[in-house]
Amino acid sequence: MTPSPAVEARGLGKDFASVRALDSLDLDVSEGEFFALLGPNGAGKTTAVHLWATLLKPTRGSARVLGHDVVRDGLAVRRRIGLVFQEPTLDRDLSVLENLQFAARLWDLPGRVAGPRIAALLEQFDLAERRDVPVRTLSGGQRRAADIARGLLAEPRLLFLDEPTAGLDPGARRSLWDAIHRLRTGRGVTVFLTTHYVEEAEPCDRVALLDRGRLAALGTPAELKRRAGTATLEGALLATRA
């Protein structure tokens, strides 16, 4: 028996009132893959991720995550995934540490597991000295870093990163890529990235180009460039939009 794909979509679509955010997506992402959903703002990337993360219900088609249907078995899906949202999810009145402790409890991590993990993440994202100040007093980049640390806390088998580097300073950006690299090589975590920065999709195993709610192209970065007859992924992206 072949293992279920980590992420799967069959004719998956979502409408918001009269707006068709996602048309009809067919996609398989294997376990252990480093995958990027690349497209301009408004292409439907976040909608797709929210459908897999069980935050939204599909209008059409079906979606599965690690073999579990997102509609029928939402809890099983949420137990296995991590998600770093495009927008902040932190309580601005609580400190960085309190926010991470809150998330650790939500993910049912015992204190003896959460404590060292939180300390390591704070160190990794240069937040150790700011851990006791309210999130409201942090800079935009520090807040973003704290949010990413929150997403990595539960060490999921599958990690969705929705535009993770937006607003991140170069140092924190490097910490993020280092963390992702460690998760992938050390624990074989599947990483599903959405981005509108072409250079971030470059190191991925495979890239899907999403345009106006439709899958425009799918393949390794090399394949996409070859097919479009361009030297860069950016050229391939522009070619699909033409």
Binding site: L56, P88, T89, R92, R105, W107
Partner: protein, 265 residues
């Protein structure tokens, strides 16, 4: 259990962090006692049996419950704006557990504040309820916190932002307070206003508090007006219905924030 504890602990931490909210919640009933109590007491001086400040005490405790529990769960709208609601929705817990945690947090907050205020207020106005009365009043505080907390959450689950906060204050909080029997017996209200009191969970909570704290007044028309059984059934029913509604509604739109809605295009 750990996720539930996490949700409740955060509510408590937020409350303690917001100093203004803490102090105003503790001072509010005494300001009312001083300003409204003194004024109304003067109106009621003709009635020898009635000490208005004593009559008002159960209602003021009910008011603390409402501001404590109802507004705490209503602040889930703030969680939506801050993105914390989405964190709760993507956490590996059922929607019902999210709703239960929020209602439990509101109940604990409402109960704690009402107990602190009640322990000062009740002796201060000269009420001396017996052990049974105190127990009943304690139960009333917990049940009323639960019912108004669940109502607040159900309401918050349908709202996108607190921009309409003043609408909520004008059309929910103040009518709930004035139609609760906290300031005057509801039996004197006529027609549709009287009907509204039957839909107001706070009215049952205040009535139950009067049974506990003003037990000996029942005959005079200033104690509890409905039966204890009706109060308990109504408060429990309201809690269950609102909790179910909140569970069904809280995941609406994936806990989307306003910014996300605007960007979705």
């Amino acid at each position: 259990m750990r996720p539930l504890y996490g949700i409740v602990a955060r509510e408590f931490l937020r409350f303690l962090r917001q100093r203004g909210r803490l102090w105003s919640s503790l001072a509010r009933p005494f300001v009312w006692l001083l300003l409204a109590g003194t004024g109304f007491a003067a109106v009621f001086t003709g009635n020898a049996q009635l000490d208005y400040r004593r009559f008002m005490a159960p209602g003021l405790v009910g008011m603390v419950v409402m501001f404590g529990a109802f507004l705490a769960s209503l602040s889930t709208v703030v969680d939506r704006d801050a993105g914390v609601l989405r964190l709760l929705l993507v956490a590996p817990i059922e929607r019902g557990a999210v709703a239960f945690g929020k209602v439990l947090g509101a109940t604990v907050l409402g109960t704690a504040q009402a107990l602190v205020v009640g322990l000062v207020l009740v002796p201060a106005v000269g009420l001396r309820p017996g052990a049974g009365g105190l127990l009943l009043a304690g139960g009333a505080i917990v049940l009323a916190s639960l019912a108004t907390g669940a109502l607040g959450l159900a309401l918050a689950a349908t709202m996108r932002s607190l921009e309409n906060f003043s609408t909520v204050m004008n059309f929910v909080v103040f009518p709930m307070l004035f139609l609760s029997g906290a300031l005057y017996p509801v039996q004197h209200l006529g027609g549709w206003l009287r009907l509204l009191t039957y839909l107001n969970p706070l009215a049952y909570g205040v009535d139950l508090l009067k049974h506990g704290l003003l037990g000996s007044w029942a005959g005079s028309g200033y104690g509890g007006e409905w039966s204890v059984a009706l109060d308990v059934v109504a408060l429990s029913g309201c809690s269950v219905v609102c909790f179910i509604a909140a569970t069904l509604l809280i995941g609406r739109e994936g806990g989307m924030t306003r910014t996300a809605l605007r960007d979705r295009g």
